[in-house]
Symmetry: C2
Subunit: 158 residues, 2 copies
């Protein structure tokens, strides 16, 4: 690299960028069998846990905006996994619920986490578990820090 400064953050950010896509590639063949994409899968994970949710709750839980979530939900509805309806007491709000097919899909999804874990974990399980707990922690810290400095930037603009 011509300029040394370009390396530090690049080394980190590019790795995260690459890892994210490699992870998606690991999920893809598994999720193909359920006719889901990864963003659709984590949307279903939320619904399997909470039974129902509004579009806003889903956006905030998955940190996606409505421009992503709206068409995604439309595809899940077209796939017969969920239903959407405006709430009578506030017609602005759209409530998403699982269909029977959507609920039943959870059974098929049960093998996915273990399958992904087997791509991530190697021989020494305990050691690896410890490493990933650590990774989880540092990812959280980094996320928090980025979100904090984003908030700061946004505040400065206003």
């Amino acid at each position: 690299m011509a300029h040394e400064q370009l390396t530090l953050s690049f080394q980190l950010c590019f790795r995260v960028y690459a890892l994210e896509r490699e992870l998606m590639a690991a999920y893809r063949p598994l999720l193909d069998q359920l006719d889901l994409t990864y963003p659709q899968y984590i949307t279903m994970l939320y619904l399997w846990e909470h039974e129902k949710g509004t579009v806003g709750e889903l956006c905030s839980a998955l940190s996606l905006d409505t421009g992503t979530m709206s068409p995604l939900l439309k595809r899940l509805e077209a796939g017969g996994f969920i239903t959407r309806r405006r709430l009578p007491r506030d017609e602005r709000t759209v409530e998403v619920r699982l269909t029977r097919k959507g609920k039943e899909l959870e059974e098929q999804a049960l093998s996915i986490p273990g399958n992904i874990a087997s791509c991530l974990l190697t021989s020494d399980k305990d050691e690896q578990q410890r490493r990933y707990d650590e990774l989880k922690t540092i990812l959280d810290q980094t996320l928090d820090q980025l979100r904090a400095s984003r908030k700061e930037r946004e505040a400065r603009v206003n």
Copy 2:
């Protein structure tokens, strides 16, 4: 989560997924000033370092496929940052080179890594530097492992 198994890999993968987008959000305002997106930026990083490269080399260095790279390069060309030409000795190969404007852009990009680093690093610099070296290492290990198990899967299919 109804089923405990869903948590382990989910906790890891979702964090990586979220972190990737948060990182892109940190780059965005900086890269907007250069009229680049993040994938375009790392393409330019490659070219700033190597002067030139074929489409295939860029795809492989950034682990992107031609379906992403081709239109991306077309936009960089439209922006006047690069030129593309077929090599005389092998007309299949397209060589990408920086224009003067593309070369000069590097100067403007110099402040970006430091700016991103300041979103990532907090008070105790040394401690944080140590943490990120560690993060870098574990990201690499995880990437390697995922790529290995992908290769394995692909081999099994054939």
